[in-house]
Structures are given as structure tokens and as C-alpha cells.
Amino acid sequence: MSARSGQAPLPRFEATGLWLAGLGGFFGLWTLVALSGAVSAQFLPSPWAVVERFGELARTPFVGHTIQEHLVSSIGRYLAGFGLAAMIGVPLGLMMGWFRGLDDAVTPLFEAIRFVAPIAWVPFAALWFGTGIGGPVLIIFMGAFPPALINAYRGAKFVEPRLIEAGRMLGASDLRMITQVLLPASVPSIVAGLRISAGLGWQSLVGAELIVASSGIGYLMVKGQSAISTATVMCGMIAIGVVGYAIDALLRAVEAHIHRRRGRNAR
């Protein structure tokens, strides 16, 4: 990753130092506010109260499950929603980039639908698929689907024309064109799209579970709110943040790996 223009990248230890300072500053401020007694523990739980609560949630079930179990069920839903979005979005995007008719038919509809926030699908998700696994999966899907599709579509649209001409000249069928030319040529764009898709999917998950679910981190947070346990809600927020960060870090690593490999392939 390069630094912003005009700035040299910081040495590694300095960067790590700043990272720690930022984190330390945040928790320090939080501790100070909590210690000052200016706000009630109900209003803003102190860091140690959150840590303590986290320990409890990990050991004893809250609304049926420990926090780990809630997390596992959230991740399961998330993988289903994100997986479906990738499996449908990428091939559909590539096809839209290849078949002119499909492009004309689907793109306007899609350009409108993508502005509807995933959470707006909640009533229909609940109505059509219930509050068990299906409803939340649909909402995650709605969040993760647009970037998966759009990036595959753009990737396919902007493949070098001479490679497409070469493929056509060599007698490639539509299927072969899509799988052997458009897909490999679009890999960087597709991976970038899936990274955005993964992030938006994880964000939508919480929204989905806040409303429709019987387990999961979002569900834990709603129940924490009902029980007026702000520390529980805070624990949920931390779990979401940490897992989201981990998902993004993983996909960034995959992306960097692909770029390294393909950088050598670029002419």
C-alpha cells in the first residue's frame, strides 16, 4: 500500500507506535470520562465493566447462548449471505458485461435497487423467509450483492478489446469467452468488489439480526438493550468491529497476493 501523495510511508515501528497511541488515547479518554463520574454507568459503561461483562457473556449463556455461540451463528448467516451474493453476483455481472441485451435490461433496474439500504428489505425478508435463517441471509445478501455484481460487470466491460477480439477470432463460444477471457481478465476488479461486498455484508448482518433472528450478535445486542445492559450492547459492538476488521484484513491479504502475482503478468 502506498502513502498518500507527497508523503513517504512511515517506518514500521513509528506506524505501530501511532497505532498504539491512537488506541491508547481512545481507551484513556473513555476511562477518564467513566472515572470522572460525570456520566452514569448506565449511560456509558466503563471499559472494565465492558471487559467484565464480556467475560460473563463468554462463560454463561445470555438469551440462550454464550457470546461465542452468538458469534458463530452470526458468521454462519453472514457466510451464507455473502457466499450467495458472490456466487450470483459475479457470474451475473460478467454476463451483463458480455451480453448487450442483458446489460440494457438489468442495469437500469439494478442502478435503482442498489440505493435501497439493505435494512429496508427487513419487512419482506421476514415475510418471505421468516426470522430464522432465511430472513437475515436475504438482508446480508442485499448488502453484499451490489458491489459483487458491479465490479464483475465493470471488469468484464473494460477488458482490453484486443483480447476480446483475439478470443472471438479464435472461435470462442459465449461460455468460453466469459469463463476463459472475461473472468481471468477481471480478477483484480472482482476481488476488489468482493472485499467491499464482504464489508457491506457484515454491516448489514447486524441490522438484520437487530430485527429478525433468534440468535446472533445483533440479537444479543437487542436483548441487551431491552435488559438495559449497555455493557452487553458494547460487547456486541466490539465483537462486530473486531470480526469485521479481521474479515477485511483477510481479504486485503488475498487482494495483495493476487496483485503481486498479476503485477508480474501485466504487460
Binding site: L163, E165, R168, M169, L170, V181, R264, N265
Partner: protein, 265 residues
């Protein structure tokens, strides 16, 4: 029979509601197994002619027919060698050559034999698993030619195939192409800027006018080549040294210069 026939071909580009004629009535017949080179000033539409034979572009009026059939789409019987190679960067040399055969649905054993043969002919042994970016420009163009030749196309369409190569590599490739054309003659339409190259390779050289392109003159090289027995010489520089070669080259240069002079006014 796989001749190429341009009949009254014109091409007009539309931009901002204005019309730009690029080709003004091309009539040209390339006979079966004939090697025809087209030279002309930049932007005269010579590449457009080739792309129309390939089925990548279409005439505004008139027709382009290959083997008596009007060209409507690209196809492996009209293989193209592009100036910028257009190899698939994510495929190895072997897989690049294999691509067209796979598209044809040839069985594995047959493909294997044919790829091995063309790799031998083009001097690509040892590079089968290399990727295009690992090869020099000359080697990449060998792969591109192998990829076209392996399909045993009726017609080979070469769009300034050696334009991106350095002078030495270019010479080697020109000699190779002559050798290949002797072993396995094809109908070839060859676009180039280089007059030397055109005279050395082609049976006939078509000289085009500047835009909108029309045919200025068709120069017969084959009869001179036979009469003067250019094929006695193995090396390109020896052929180029022949008085008859120099004479033809100068003639074509003058025709092109004429276009240049018109351009300057």
C-alpha cells in the same frame, strides 16, 4: 478456395453528426494462397481493410467475401495476428496456442500433436510453460503466429505483426515467415508500414492513397521475384541488395511520397 474479395468497399465513420469517409471504394481480389501486402500512409484505412476481412469491422457499402462467403463475424478460418500480439497474459505459451483448438472442440491427442509441431516450427521449444510477460517481443509474436497457424486457417490476416519489434528480431521473423509460407502456404493479407518488408514478403503490394483510402497502384512482385530468382538467396539482406528489389522498393517509395506531398499542402 479461400480467396479474399473486396467489392466496392467504402467505410464512413460518424462522429458528432459529421461523416468521415475513411475508405473510398476498394476493389481488390487476393487469390487463394497469394500473399498480398498493403502499404499506405497512416490513417489510410489499411488496417480497417484487414479488420473487415477478419469480421471485426464492417463496410458501410460494398462487401468483403472470403472463400466466396460474405464475412459476417470473426472466425478461426480467418486467423488474425495483431501488432500488439494480444496473447492471453494469464495463459502459458502452450495454453495460448491450445485456446483456438479447444474452441474447435478438437480431441486432446490431436491437439497435443499439432501444438508440438507448431512449437517446433516456430522455435518455441522449452518455452511451453512460460507466460507471455516472460518472453521478449519477438518470442511473443512467434506465439501469436503459432496460435494463428495451428488452426490451419484458410486465410491469415496480419496487422503490422512485426511493427513492435526491433530491427534484428524483425528480420529474423520476416525470414521465418517466408520459410513458413513455403512449407505451408496460406492466403495472406499483410498490413505494414515498411516498404522493404512488403516487397520482401509479398506476391503483390497494394499501395493506398491517403485518407479516404483508395488503391493507388498494385505492384506485382511475384513475377520479378521469379524472373530474378530471389529465392536463391537465403538471407533478407542479399535479396534486398538485388537491383530488381531496389527498383521495386524505390517505385513504391515514390508512390507513397506522392501521397505525402499531397498531405503537406
Amino acid at each position: 478456395m479461400s480467396d479474399i474479395r473486396f467489392s466496392g468497399v467504402t467505410r464512413v465513420f460518424q462522429r458528432d453528426g459529421r461523416e468521415f469517409p475513411t475508405l473510398a471504394g476498394i476493389d481488390l481480389a487476393v487469390a487463394d494462397r497469394e500473399f498480398v501486402a498493403i502499404v499506405g500512409p497512416s490513417g489510410c484505412g489499411k488496417t480497417t481493410c484487414l479488420r473487415m476481412a477478419a469480421g471485426l469491422e464492417f463496410p458501410t457499402t460494398g462487401t468483403v467475401a472470403v472463400g466466396g462467403r460474405i464475412v459476417e463475424s470473426p472466425g478461426p478460418e480467418r486467423a488474425v495476428v495483431f501488432q500488439q500480439f494480444a496473447l492471453f497474459p494469464w495463459k502459458s505459451v502452450w495454453d495460448n496456442i491450445d485456446f483456438g483448438l479447444k474452441c474447435k472442440g478438437e480431441p486432446g491427442a490431436g491437439r497435443r500433436a499439432r501444438i508440438e509441431q507448431i512449437i517446433g516450427v516456430m522455435g518455441l521449444q522449452g518455452y511451453e510453460s512460460a507466460f507471455p510477460h516472460q518472453l521478449s517481443g519477438g518470442m511473443q509474436q512467434r506465439v501469436a503466429i503459432a496460435r494463428a497457424y495451428v488452426l490451419e486457417p484458410d486465410v491469415l490476416l496480419m496487422d503490422e505483426p512485426f511493427g513492435a519489434l526491433d530491427a534484428q528480431t524483425r528480420t529474423v521473423m520476416q525470414e521465418e515467415l517466408v520459410r513458413l509460407a513455403r512449407v505451408n502456404p496460406r492466403t495472406v493479407l499483410f498490413i505494414t508500414h515498411a516498404v522493404d518488408e512488403a516487397v520482401y514478403l509479398a506476391d503483390r503490394v497494394v499501395v493506398m492513397t491517403r485518407r479516404p483510402g483508395a488503391i493507388r497502384e498494385i505492384v506485382d512482385v511475384a513475377s520479378v521475384r521469379r524472373a530474378e530468382r530471389w529465392d536463391r538467396h537465403e538471407r533478407i539482406e542479399d535479396v534486398m541488395d538485388q537491383e530488381s528489389f531496389v527498383h521495386l522498393r524505390t517505385h513504391i517509395w515514390r508512390l507513397l511520397r506522392e501521397q505525402q506531398a499531397r498531405n503537406d499542402h
